[in-house]
């Protein structure tokens, strides 16, 4: 079997963030693969939540959107959206949320609204908030997954759609946020944590074959490193086989290791 690609390593790293029994807001694309992988491995009782109103989904195919009918059939509960947001999210019943973004800053705040300095006349009009602000605000842990480049890791967001650690330090707490804030940012280059005091993003590991300079070049601020930047653990062979053969057998999100092709645009979008 060929070694894990960077994208596969990213998905595997994300899957390690899921704890058994967690109620997880999933989204589609890469986070979905990560949670499916976790459920097949160390977290068989993780429960999948979707802002469309589904709790305990057991999709029989790869869902195309967070409102795919395969998420409904066989689920434990489907409820109206106001109840999903009020009771599961605002009510503090969510352990983990996965989010994507067009821009992320050093404190894990996210922009999915507009690119460009003028909200009224944006250079690019992005989808907007969806459920992301509420997932990030309320979940006990939030993990951001995105493919990395310098235009995405910015020193200043064009628009703050979703609050991570706000201005760092205790500023998130000062806003009154009940959830735990972002714990990890996972990209196709490496894995980041946040400093426990300053709440600034810290490079914790790089994927096999990625140089730290390559990472620095893909970050728009002066990136802090962990005292020891490790190499992200590679997926165990059986996990990799599962990912390739059962979870994304057509390579819709991860491509074929041989071809390197994959659907990238929408892969971390939430809807």
């Amino acid at each position: 079997m060929s070694p894990a690609t960077r994208a596969e390593t990213m998905v595997f790293a994300a899957s390690r963030e899921v704890e058994d029994g967690d109620s997880v807001f999933v989204g589609v694309g890469l986070p979905n693969l990560a949670v499916q992988l976790a459920r097949r491995g160390h977290a068989p009782r993780a429960r999948l939540l979707y802002e469309s109103g589904v709790f305990g989904a057991r999709p029989a195919r790869l869902p195309i959107s967070i409102g795919d009918p395969c998420l409904v059939t066989g689920a434990a509960q489907v409820l109206e959206m106001p109840a999903m947001f009020q009771y599961f999210l605002q009510g503090g019943r969510t352990d983990l949320g996965f989010l994507g973004a067009a821009q992320v800053d050093r404190f894990g705040n996210l922009n999915t609204t507009v690119v460009g300095p003028d909200y009224r006349r944006p250079r690019v009009r992005l989808p907007g908030a969806g459920g992301a602000p509420d997932i990030a605000w309320n979940a006990r842990r939030t993990v951001v997954i995105l493919r990395q480049d310098r235009r995405k890791f910015v020193s200043r967001l064009d628009f703050r759609t979703t609050v991570g650690w706000a201005e760092g330090g205790r500023s998130r707490e000062a806003l009154g946020a009940p959830g735990g804030g972002p714990t990890r940012v996972i990209t196709d280059l490496g894995v980041y944590g946040f400093h426990p005091e300053t709440r600034e993003m810290i490079l914790e590991s790089v994927h096999a074959g990625v140089a730290i300079e390559e990472v620095r070049a893909a970050v728009g601020w002066d990136l802090r490193l962990a005292p020891e930047v490790r190499v992200t653990p590679a997926p165990e062979p059986e996990m990799l086989a599962l990912l390739r053969e059962e979870i994304d057998p057509k390579g819709i999100y991860l491509g074929r290791p041989s071809s390197g092709k994959a659907l990238s645009g929408p892969s971390t979008s939430r809807s």
Partner: protein, 307 residues
């Protein structure tokens, strides 16, 4: 992926999750009243409870007379369609056998407290107390001003019970719970509570629940104990399983007026019995059969197999 750790006997569930001094919400609006659970709370002689219920009825009369309660939070107090709860009235009107604090709302006011609790909000706005005497006697009925219209509305604070106890028709072993017929505020009180005990007519395979996810009112993620206790809502009813035992409600009107009769009732039907199975045996097969309705099935619904 079934996990049977949550399936407990009633004795275990109450011993583990209901503590002296707790705020305990026992819900079920005329339907699915958790009598079996309430009786176990009496049997285990819990004390100083704050009991919460939209419509305190026979069960509350029993819990109060048995001395479990320090305070009652409610919306409507009575033997529905029959008369008064005299045990509660003795406590409120004459401190007999002991004083009982009361905290009173309209149904809607208490429902809004549950909703705030379930929603992680510190308060909930509503219209409904203006011009009434409730704000005068209940300091938890306050005002809030709309930031758009300037209109002054009523507000109630979140209620987060330590424990919610609800009865339901069926659940799987993870606690995914389905209710049909009157839904009361079961879902809201369960989400509002820190611990949740679900008592059901039957524990079913998860496939039964998952074949109709829209029917699920309470997700397993928030349930601590699942107790199987068929007939556990008697003398109230369980839609499709049994009717209200109206004779018992009428008989209560005599029992509740006489503390000695109430003592005897508790001795015979609560302290003197180990569990709901023994209760039903004592009640007799005739009564059980009389209360069973003829079937009336829901129309079929197809969710489709998407793969």
């Amino acid at each position: 992926m079934a996990d049977d750790a949550r399936i407990l006997t009633m004795r275990e569930a109450v011993a583990r999750f209901v503590r002296d001094g707790d705020t305990v919400a026992l819900e079920g609006f005329t339907h699915l009243i958790p009598f079996a659970a309430g009786h176990e709370i009496i049997r285990q002689r819990r004390r100083d409870l704050t009991l919460v219920r939209l419509t305190p009825d026979l069960l509350m009369d029993q819990l109060v007379h048995a001395g479990t309660a320090r305070r009652l939070v409610f919306g409507w107090l009575g033997n529905p369609g029959v008369g008064s709860l005299h045990a509660v009235r003795r406590a409120v009107e004459r401190d007999v056998p002991a004083p009982l604090e009361i905290e009173e709302y309209s149904h809607f006011g208490l429902l809004c407290r549950y909703q705030a609790g379930a929603s992680g909000l510190p308060f909930f706005p509503l219209r409904g107390f203006r011009g009434t005497d409730y704000p005068r006697v209940n300091p938890l009925v306050r005002e809030v001003t709309c930031p758009f219209t300037g209109e002054v509305l009523d507000a109630v604070p979140a209620l987060r019970p330590d424990v919610a106890v609800v009865h339901a028709q069926r659940a799987d072993s993870e606690g995914n719970t389905q209710i049909w017929g009157l839904l009361g505020a079961q879902r809201e009180v369960a989400f509002a509570a820190r611990r949740v005990i679900v008592v059901v007519e039957e524990i079913v395979e998860e496939a039964v629940i998952r074949a109709d996810p829209n029917r699920t009112q309470i997700p397993g993620a928030i349930v601590d104990a699942v107790v199987e206790a068929p007939g556990g809502a008697h003398p109230s009813f369980a839609q499709g399983f049994y009717d209200r035992d109206n004779a018992a409600y009428l008989a209560w009107d005599r029992i509740t007026r006489d503390p000695a009769a109430l003592d005897r009732y508790l001795e015979e039907w609560v302290y003197g019995l180990p569990d709901r199975g023994a209760y039903l045996e004592r009640l007799g097969r005739d009564v059980v059969n009389r209360l069973r309705p003829a079937p009336r099935l829901a129309s079929p619904v197809d969710y489709g197999d998407y793969r």
